[in-house]
Amino acid sequence: MKQVTLHIATNTQLIQGIYEMKLEGDVGDTLRPGQFVNIALDNLYLRRPFSISDYDTTSMTLLYKVVGKGTRQMSSMHKGQKISILNGLGNGFNTNIHHSHVLLAGGGIGIAPLYKLAKELKTAGKKVSVALCFNTAKEIFYVERFKELSTNTYIATVDGSEGCKGFITNLIQQYKLTFDYYYACGPMPMLKSMCQNIEAPGEVSLEARMGCGFGICMGCSIPTTSGNKRVCKEGPVFGKEELIW
């Protein structure tokens, strides 16, 4: 973990309420897709955790949804502004797997960490299928980006306004998707449904209200099959067999 000050390179609204922020500077502590940063914002006591959607040696990209004071403040930030972050937090996804065909399943803003993951898995020579779920057609974003990296990208909307009607599990059923391993990030009901209904092995990235983000306050601990684990430290990615629903 490292505290660094990064510069905002771009901060763009992709669709209503969803933003993409690119930060430049010392990002060397980001080592794996699925890790996150904790951002300090003016007049807010606690930092705000965000998963990293993409990174290279000099920059990182965050996708965020405006849901409260912190994200509203971020949405009004502009190019050149400095931002203090704790970097290199959490375990990230395990890309060192022997399975050859993987499914990346994302719900809403939860698709964020899957983007860099898709890049890495594609580079590793895996066959990558992507399943993305949104509430409605108007909330769809980043699909084209995922299409560039995947063999197939499938869409579901809860209201049926685009793609398969329903959730990720409905989509998997309807399109009879096959895969050897999956990675998932999204709302808790989606993750629960995947862990309980998909037979293939997999791992999921959880979200939790955090105090510190680096393992000292026990604010985000969950009981797992292998003892209490901190979402911020041992997580946010857990093997599906570890989670107790």
Partner: protein, 304 residues
């Protein structure tokens, strides 16, 4: 070595008065990756109970103006694991006496855990937490009645030889009566204060943010109240005080000491700024120079 920063806490010479507060520093290992822990005066380790505890359901964290609301509920691996695993690990990265923070659900619990921890050479001070607002049938129940506070103090003193500090709750009408009861029951010192009971509601979802509905509030927002309580207790009692509550800067440390604290704990601030204690310790000499303070010992309790 006595320096202008050092303080004597019940016969233990601390290089400086800055101590991370229990529950905001884990058992030190995560922080050891961030900076050299030996710069600290001491460390108050995560509150420990007789048995291992998971604590309360999530969400356990909410926020307020300049503060954090928590209902962690004493998650810890239990006294035996702390002695067998956590203390030896901490010993590798922190080479000074630590403060062991002990909680319980009965007087028996407190006595049991304190007796065990008393045998640990690494432990310099035992801090008895009778003020956790996040557990039922214990914790704060012992800290809100002078009679119960005295009973816990006596029971712990009976089975220990190390200095015993009682950590007090601010959720009382008159903290001096609790403090006095602990002093009379034999406490060697007092840590004050623990968190203030608070609450936040998610007005969109029409639900409390915390799963437990209420939790303990800490952070700079509570500093003036904690300071007032330290001052009041210092006017009433003669045993040393560790001041705690919203401390975020070197100036806050000096203010706490002027009010009567011999040492100072930094809590919530560690969560938002992992370098908080380090920065405070590094800034103290400059602030002292500016304020013409020759030694920190000389300002303890100068406000009468």
């Amino acid at each position: 070595m006595v320096t202008k920063l050092s303080v004597n806490l019940c016969g233990i010479l601390l290089d400086n008065p800055v101590i991370p507060a229990s529950g905001t520093f884990g058992f030190g290992m995560e922080m050891a990756d961030i900076y050299n822990l030996d710069i600290l005066g001491s460390i108050s380790i995560k509150g420990t109970t007789r048995e291992a505890r998971y604590g309360n359901p999530l969400p356990r964290i909410a926020e307020g103006e300049r503060g954090i609301l928590n209902s962690v509920g004493l998650q810890n691996p239990g006294i035996h694991s702390v002695i067998a695993d956590e203390l030896p690990r901490l010993k590798q990265v922190f080479h000074k006496p630590v403060i062991a923070n002990i909680s319980g659900f009965s007087i028996d619990d407190y006595a049991y855990s304190c007796e065990k921890i008393n045998d640990q050479e690494q432990v310099g001070i035992i801090e008895v937490n009778i003020s956790c607002p996040n557990v039922h049938n214990g914790g704060m129940a012992f800290g809100t009645s002078p009679k119960m506070a005295a009973k816990v103090t006596q029971a712990v003193k009976h089975v220990t030889t190390k200095p015993v500090f009682i950590k007090l709750s601010p959720n009382v009408t008159d903290i001096t009566s609790i403090a006095k009861a602990c002093e009379e029951a034999g406490a060697d010192g007092l840590t004050l204060v623990n968190t203030f009971l608070g609450m936040r509601i998610d007005i969109q979802r029409r639900q409390p943010i915390l799963a437990q509905k209420v939790g303990g509030y800490s952070g700079p927002a509570i500093f003036p109240i904690a300071l007032r309580m330290v001052y009041q207790v210092a006017q009433t009692c003669h045993i040393p005080i560790i001041g705690c509550g919203g401390v975020a800067t070197a100036e806050d440390v000096i203010e706490m000491m002027m009010a009567g604290a011999t040492a100072v704990q930094v809590g919530a601030e560690n969560l938002r700024n992992p370098f908080a204690c380090k920065e405070i310790i590094e800034t103290l000499p400059q602030v002292m120079e500016r304020l013409k303070i020759d030694s920190l010992e000389s300002i303890i309790g100068i406000i009468k």
